[in-house]
Symmetry: C2
Subunit: 281 residues, 2 copies
């Protein structure tokens, strides 16, 4: 068997995902109240690595032949919503993202609040529409449950609340830091892979294994991100070791899916390299 | 048969709904990052007529014996989320609601953005959890679809975007005004009744009829609200006549459900009286 070409794999899936997002987000027009549609496109189509929706597709691939593109796009919409709201002046107050103005800088704060709300809502609408269309109500209802839990107070919203508190009082231990990462990042990584596995027809055991993969990978990804950005320097050595451990555990989980798990395995290796010993700055 | 006692009907259902909300929203504690839980309770439990969740229950009653309390609470959470975000400084910039400080006044703007996001997310989580628990995946997935469409760019978010535009340029015709009301108010009224009918096991025809009831009632309700608040005075006569027409059509739809439709019929009559000739101010 050939060596797995992760770059080609990621590139192809990004293309599918972006084509589907493009199709689902109609262009703004003169009749675009509050420039809402334009803001939605800006929030969603102006770049991004698309790692979470790729993980969704890879999760489906690990358990079968399915390619739940709309479910993957739903995951990306939840990610996009969280960025728009996190960037707001009352939150992280960011002026730019991926080299472009943030949504509230480009379209105003009201449009940014509404655009985030719309993206979050559209994610659930997309999953419901697709579940009904496919006659796969059980799997898609479970996927909605998975994604909503990840996005809610026990997941992303909770993590962001902790993060805002941490601004006044930086985390004292890796454990405290990870409580924040768990909600802010790992919850959606976990849901992304699990949603893929659910919509791809995976068994309860498979979904549960892949949840673990996603959570480990998400924590490691956030550690790698912090290390690259030079954040929480005092814990850098500890965080690097922890990220490596998490990625190796994720890789081992992926291997349990044999050849079908190769993309997930390769992504775990990629994150391990990113978190590796050489500071990337 | 006795005269239908709407006050008693509303009172009892409000009690059920508030008890269920209370149970689903655990109290804040010292470990309440960003005071998020406290903000969620403030947004949800500090009063409100609970008309939308009552309509959800009445929709279920029109088609059978079901009492989908959690679905009704999901509808109320979507309503509560929309109030929290609409009140934000960047939107309507409201300091008080129902005599209490708005969420951002009491808990800060970041907590208000997050609380709104959490309420919207929890609505979908609640419907998914309940659909799985009941083994009624098809009905609850359709309910999620219904609620997400009502909340999204073609519904509440779109209506709010139009509303923000209208602040600079008031509507010239009743038709323009109703385009805003349709998204801001009627979409959720429609979804509330339809979600009840779906979760109560209604047929596609019944759900479709009840959608019409909810939409008509929602438009009439918003006209009644505007009339009571003295808004759009120039169109007052026209709006009053239109509200009466909408309520009578809604009442006629309710009557098609016989005795089971009595609560819906009585609610339509109530809104008609509110929109009636005597200004309530």
């Amino acid at each position: 068997m050939n060596v797995f070409d992760l770059d080609a794999y990621l590139h192809e899936r990004r293309r599918w995902i972006e084509a589907t997002l493009e199709e689902r987000l109609p262009p703004g027009s003169d009749a675009d109240p509050g420039r809402l549609r334009a803001a939605l496109r800006h929030a969603t189509l102006a770049g991004g690595k698309r790692l979470r929706p790729v993980l969704c597709l890879a999760g489906a691939e690990a358990v079968g032949e399915g390619r739940p593109l709309l479910a993957a796009c739903a995951v990306e919409l939840v990610h996009a919503y969280s960025l728009v709201h996190d960037d707001l002046p009352a939150m992280d107050d960011a002026d730019t993202r991926r080299g472009a103005p943030t949504v509230h800088k480009a379209f105003g704060e009201a449009a940014a609040v509404l655009a985030g709300d719309a993206l979050l809502t559209m994610a659930f609408e997309l999953l419901a529409t697709e579940g009904i269309r496919q006659g796969a109500e059980g799997a898609y209802l479970q996927a909605i449950h998975e994604l909503a839990r990840a996005a809610g107070p026990l997941g992303m919203v909770g993590g962001q609340a902790i993060d805002l508190d941490l601004k006044d009082k930086p985390p004292a231990t890796l454990r405290e830091l990870e409580a924040c990462h768990a909600g802010k990042t790992a919850a959606l990584f976990q849901a992304a892979v699990a949603v893929g596995a659910l919509c791809g027809g995976g068994s309860a055991d498979q979904v549960q294994l892949l949840r673990g993969y996603g959570f480990d990978l998400g924590l490691a990804f956030q550690h790698a991100d912090d290390l690259a950005d030079g954040e929480h320097q005092r814990m850098a050595g500890e965080a690097r070791a922890r990220a490596r451990e998490l990625c190796r555990r994720a890789a081992a989980t992926a291997e349990r899916f044999g050849d079908r798990g190769r993309p997930l395995r390769a992504i775990a290796d990629l994150v391990e390299r990113r978190a590796g010993d050489k500071p990337s700055a």
